[in-house]
Amino acid sequence: MLYAAAWSPVYRYSLTLVRDLDDAADVAAETFRRAFVAWRAGKGAVAEPLPWLFLTARRIVVDRERRNRLVRWLPLTNAAADAADNPLSRTELWLWFRQLCEALPDRQREALVLRYGFDMSDEDIGRLIGVSPAGVHTLVSRALSRLRAQPEIFE
């Protein structure tokens, strides 16, 4: 059940990239659609699919951003909607995520999530986002030093 195991990481990674719950569902769904096409054609990674799925998701996001298709919404819209039908902790978590997004530029946020959210190595992250391992190290260090200016994020 590759799909079952990979859905959550792919969704969370997509969320990191697009910062919108619905957009992330779109991207994750499209990622798996492409993955199934690839797997069926005998292509694509099967043994260790996550980096490959991440790369696919990333390219979907980059593609759509470049084609200007991603509509982004104000954070409070989502938070308010969540607050209506979700337990408090989920809303709080969402607000924390929004705060993280506000604090960090895209590349830094992505590197940080891949490092600490998915325990990926500098090499793997670098291969995914297209910078050298040293570049990844710099991104993560920069992200951390930025976050230290807002200690509440570490709470």
Partner: protein, 457 residues
């Protein structure tokens, strides 16, 4: 940070145990934000809902439990559904070399006002299809173009060098590649066992290489006149003039003036939110700051570009307005103007300077291109719309970043047409004379493709 050589180690401490643990805990808690998986059958039904509507609510799960079907069974069902959809566009490989007489047929990337009588034809040659195309770089004399790509499976990056007709003359293993002259180049190659990166100088047609320095560089900008190469290690830029290192700067984006004498660096600081920063112009030879624009806010989408005469600098940011937009700064006087009507889009389109010194700013809401003088005053003019315009120094306009697998082209005399690329064009690298371009496109799921476009006279 100003005027000083930056600390290349970034100065930041590694994460402490507590920080790491707390971040990890938060990230794992984000599991609760994950919605149920949509049923596989919904996903396999294809891109109709996923990609043709603008990103809202495509795959809300009908019933998450569907996904509990055995994987094999579902794959068979998936295969059945897909096989019923006749040929998937994703499977299309980059096109073979072809000469495409441009068709004047309507494209949504071209304004209706265009009425091409005789379309400008162009030669379109597919150079390379690869997992990820990193860079395309023209030699300073425009005689060759180097395309660096990452292949799937962790093989070393390869730089292929093509002549102007698209013929491959050389293939070099290189992680990063930058020209230093018409026939000479600088490249880096990683050594995995020792985890070091080595930098070499080489020459076209010669197998000899000289190792010059340990450390990672990648060209982000090259000026043919002064031979100013700006290389960077993520955020630290090193400027090379005539093959010698002249200055180092830390910054988040960088632009080189056309004569290579000045470099603009966009700085983002983390003191307060959101992304305040400043833009500075430095002398490329000495590294000294010539002009600082302190009253602006740069966004995390750092971008800057000099006007052709080098007197004005356009950048994305905010000059006292609430929202970000395109700004034009006068380098000699230090005045900054935020252009009216360019604010408020989260994903802004990329402006481009015209050879006559005016700035073309695509507006993705009105789907028009607004043209501003360097004084910030809007003037009339008509260009094909696309989220990204790329305008060469010779005045040829390529409209890219639209939804079609084609690129709009407007020749110097104003004629327009559409070129089929069989790939979604993403960005454009012009030759120094502005008469040839390499368009990097996304060719589908697996590959990106580099296509040489040479508009005919």
């Amino acid at each position: 940070m100003n005027g000083k050589v930056p600390d290349r180690s970034t100065g930041a401490e590694p994460a402490t145990e507590t920080e790491r643990e707390r971040l990890k805990r938060r990230f794992s808690e984000m599991e609760t934000l994950v919605p149920p998986r949509p049923p596989l059958s919904a996903i396999a039904r294809g891109p109709a809902t996923a990609t043709t509507r603008p990103g809202r609510r495509m795959a809300r799960p009908l019933a998450g439990s569907f996904a509990a079907l055995a994987f094999v069974v579902v794959l068979i069902a998936t295969g059945f559904l897909i096989s019923r959809r006749s040929p998937t566009p994703e499977a299309t490989r980059p096109p073979a070399a072809s000469t495409a007489p441009a068709s004047p047929s309507a494209s949504r990337s071209l304004e209706a006002s265009a009425s091409p009588v005789a379309s400008p034809a162009a030669t379109v040659v597919a150079l390379k299809g690869e997992f990820l195309i990193l860079t395309a770089a023209w030699a300073p004399d425009g005689g060759h173009v180097a395309v660096t790509a990452v292949s799937e499976g962790g093989a070393p990056n390869v730089t292929d060098i093509f002549d102007r007709s698209g013929f491959k003359v050389e293939s070099i293993a290189a992680d990063e590649f930058a020209w230093t002259g018409a026939n000479t180049y600088r490249l880096t190659r990683g050594d995995v066992p020792t985890d070091t990166t080595h930098q070499y100088l080489g020459e076209l047609g010669s197998a000899n290489e000289t190792e010059v320095k340990v450390g990672s560089v990648a060209a982000v900008s090259y000026d043919p006149l002064s031979q100013c190469v700006a290389s960077h290690q993520t955020f630290d830029y090193t400027l090379w003039i005539g093959g010698r290192e002249s200055a180092s700067r830390e910054g988040d984006a960088l632009a080189c003036s056309t004569d290579g004498s000045e470099v603009a660096v966009v700085q983002i600081t983390s003191d307060t939110l959101p992304y305040p920063g400043w833009v500075e112009v430095i002398d490329a030879h000495t590294g000294k700051v010539i002009r600082e624009f302190r009253d602006v806010q740069s966004s995390d989408r750092a971008w800057a570009a000099f006007s052709p005469d080098g007197r004005a600098l356009a950048f994305y940011g905010s000059a006292g307005e609430v929202s970000y937009g395109t700004c034009i700064a006068d380098v000699s006087t230090g005045t900054v103007r935020q252009l009216f009507g360019t604010s408020g889009f989260y994903v802004p389109a990329t402006p481009a300077w015209l050879p006559d010194g005016r700035l073309a700013v695509p507006n993705t809401v009105t789907e028009k291109v607004h043209i501003f003088g360097a004084d910030g005053v809007e003037s009339s003019g008509s260009l094909p719309f696309a989220p990204n315009l790329s305008i060469s120094s010779a005045g040829v306009v390529l409209a890219v970043g639209d939804l079609s697998r084609s690129v709009g082209i407007q020749s110097v005399d104003g004629r327009r047409s559409t070129l089929d690329l069989a790939a979604y064009p993403m960005y454009v690298v012009w030759s120094p004379d502005g008469l040839a371009a390499v368009v990097i496109g996304s060719a589908g799921t697996y590959d990106e493709t580099a296509v040489l476009v040479v508009p005919s006279e």
